[in-house]
Symmetry: C2
Subunit: 447 residues, 2 copies
């Protein structure tokens, strides 16, 4: 498998020489990361070599026993599985296959109702993913699902229809698994949510969907090798991505990283990337804001801004060399110039040329871009893509001098919400949130 990438450098300070000049820093970053891995502090690089049999075994049972599979998780606990589903299965899967696949990643009651109405509760396996075992949204949806199951099949049978994926030692879900015998799979303690797609968090739902998890891990494994190359910055995809973004951020103050996918099946990969990049690198006043875009759609929405707005962006285009199928555009109006030129081309060809046209127009204006081309969308390519971006993100943390593996900035909002929900021990936080909220200026418009 060959992943190709192209750079349309802008006209600024970020030259190929500047990039190669980062080699020593990247080498240091790589050594730091490998040491963290060797000390057991950072676990995502070990995942390609894990033994997936426990995951495969539980998945086999689920495939045999249930008509529906509902994943309850949010953020890093659901985005990996959603990315794999959308890339490798897609929206028509549920019409032809079983168990049907659903994700509850929010407590929006309308969404929860919709999901619950699409499944027969008694024939559904619910998988609850939370490393801490205390994520409010996932715990709420777990309780709703458990309540429905208990009403439908009784307490004993309800418990059998639930699988936890959680920390091997700690947290409420782990306690419940021990005390009440819920089935469970482990998230390694040294793997955080946003780096967990290649752990059971992503592998188990993938296996339930019949996705070849061994090929996924193989792709990741080979990409990891490539991310250890030290001969040139442009030969190491993680160095290239980390290095370029770092230079554009520090030398040209490009604080926005747009990822624009020219294939709808990669749409959710961009959401996965958004979380990885934002939560890992957005701290200490630093961090680029990741922005999602879809080609060609957002040419008609965002490209005006990218071309003529502030010079604050670096773009990553994602494309796929081979579409699984294609349509020829019929040559029906040869005398109409706005239609004639399209005739006898294929849709996939138009889409690819739109990317080149857009990237070239941006380059003419000095807006830099990287283009990553996957040969096709399959297990190995997705595994490789995940690993390349995880490595690039971890190395970027070192370049910026921040810890890419924590997320201290989400704690405050959680505690204020606990307080507002009346959780014991958080009363003061509840008062505080209420005070801030009441101090805010209120107005209303009657229409």
């Amino acid at each position: 498998m060959r992943i190709a990438y192209g750079l349309a450098l802008g006209q600024g300070r970020v030259t190929l020489e500047a990039l190669e000049g980062l080699r020593e820093r990247l080498l240091e970053a790589q050594q730091w990361l490998e040491e963290e891995g060797a000390r057991g502090e950072v676990g995502f690089m070990d995942l390609p070599l894990q033994d997936p049999s426990p995951v495969l075994q539980v998945a086999r049972e689920v495939r045999n026993l249930y008509d529906h599979f509902v994943l309850i998780g949010i953020g890093g606990s659901s985005l990996g599985a959603q990315t794999l589903f959308d890339a490798l299965r897609g929206p028509s899967y549920n019409r032809h296959s079983h168990p049907t696949f659903h994700i509850l990643d929010n407590v929006d009651p309308v969404k929860v109702e919709k999901t619950m109405s699409e499944v027969k509760i008694e024939a559904t396996c619910f998988c609850v993913v939370s490393k801490s075992g205390s994520t409010a949204e996932s715990m709420a949806n777990f309780l709703v699902a458990l309540g429905l199951l208990q009403r439908a099949v009784g307490r004993e049978e309800a418990r059998k229809r639930i699988v936890f994926i959680t920390d091997p030692h700690r947290g409420t879900l782990r306690e419940l698994a021990r005390e009440e015998g819920y089935r469970s799979l482990d998230i390694p303690s040294n793997v955080g949510g946003r780096f967990s797609v290649l752990s059971p968090v992503g592998l188990f739902p993938a296996a339930v969907l019949g996705i070849d998890v061994k090929r996924l891990l193989e792709g990741a494994s080979r990409a990891l090798e490539a991310c250890k190359r030290q001969d040139s910055v442009t030969h190491n995809p993680a160095w290239l991505i980390a290095g370029l973004h770092y230079l554009y951020q520090t030398l040209e103050h490009r604080g926005i990283s747009v990822m624009m996918a020219y294939h709808e099946r990669l749409s959710t990969f961009v959401d996965w990337y958004r979380q990885l990049w934002a939560e890992s690198l957005g701290k200490d006043g630093k961090g680029q804001t990741p922005v999602k875009a879809i080609g060609a759609v957002d040419q008609h929405s965002q490209i005006q801004l990218y071309n003529e707005g502030p010079r604050d962006k670096v773009i990553t285009f994602l494309q796929v060399e081979n579409f699984a199928l294609d349509h020829e555009i019929p040559h029906l109006y040869p005398h109409k110039p706005a239609l004639a030129y399209l005739g006898r081309h294929r849709l996939g060809e138009l889409l690819k040329r739109e990317l080149i046209g857009t990237a070239s127009a941006l380059a003419k204006r000095g807006v830099p871009s990287i283009t990553i081309t996957l040969p096709k969308i399959d297990e190995a390519c997705m595994g490789a893509l995940f690993m390349v971006y995880e490595m690039a993100t971890a190395l970027s943390g070192y370049l910026y001098g921040i810890n890419p593996f924590d997320q201290p900035g989400v704690e405050e909002g959680k505690q204020l919400t606990y307080g507002l929900m009346g959780r014991e021990g958080y009363q003061d936080k509840g008062y505080e949130a209420q005070k801030i909220w009441e101090k805010s200026i209120k107005a209303s418009l009657i229409v």
Copy 2:
């Protein structure tokens, strides 16, 4: 109907006094906009008073005659309809209702194939929306659809199954309508794509879906009145939105406008906003980058960055007072602190308190936000919301000293793509794009 809004001002220079200090500029902007309207240059403010009968009549026929309805359009030609469908109908609509509703807003062959496989071609009405009548993606999909129809039902019958929505006087679709008798509806010449949701561009698909377009226009009409109030900046929703964003941009260099919807049904409204804000205001080196977020999901993805990253954002929260339905969280584990506090609350309550918790945590760190609360999601509220944001965007253009109604920055990419596709007269553009593309640095990773 009452739309409420709250401001959690940050700790910076943007005070309520600074906002009221903009009153004169906003008044000027308002006068400029009204003059443009009176001169016939800007038409979106006239849309609430249009007669929707032509739209309703064609929609009635479509509802009677066809099992499926496919909208072909991209950007401003599809986002309004998609927003209305997602807000007022939603994903389960197609399982119970007819005609089923589909949007082809991209030339991704996998998406096109999926849509075409979901409909019976001979029982499908295709609606092609393009003001210019030359948008490459929509013309390509039009040709594909026409080819399929001609094969299924012959040339004569194929033409009857197509409705154009286009400029009343110009462009290829208008020519075809005149020459070959295709049915058509008009986009007023003085209404651009991103301001067109309340023209037939949005109203016709809405009417096909059985959405009450008169109530939509009534909501817009009442919002327009509110946007003319001059007593206080905070009493005029368009002034408030335009004024606050302008001050945060110019006084505090907040170049990113996040819109975070705490209701999945408003998810596509955020995409609609993204286009409106980016394409209207992103020019002359100016313009905020709009960013889409969904609550509570993105609390577990983007909030770390918003809280602890660069101070470059202003947030707009969107919420809904009343959910169409709700779920109580059962009180199943009273002895587990991470579960007990959730019991007996409703999911919608949790979601709302998460918004307050998140907004309060952001306010504590000096990240400013506006919260817009709709009483519920219905036709009148959606009409009002569209109009408020269109007014705010138009006024913002005046504040920044730019024309909010053009999009010169998308032309170059279009021409380069024409060249690459071999369109007559664009050969040089094709060579140019190829040269830029070939000059870009290429590498590949073999995994």
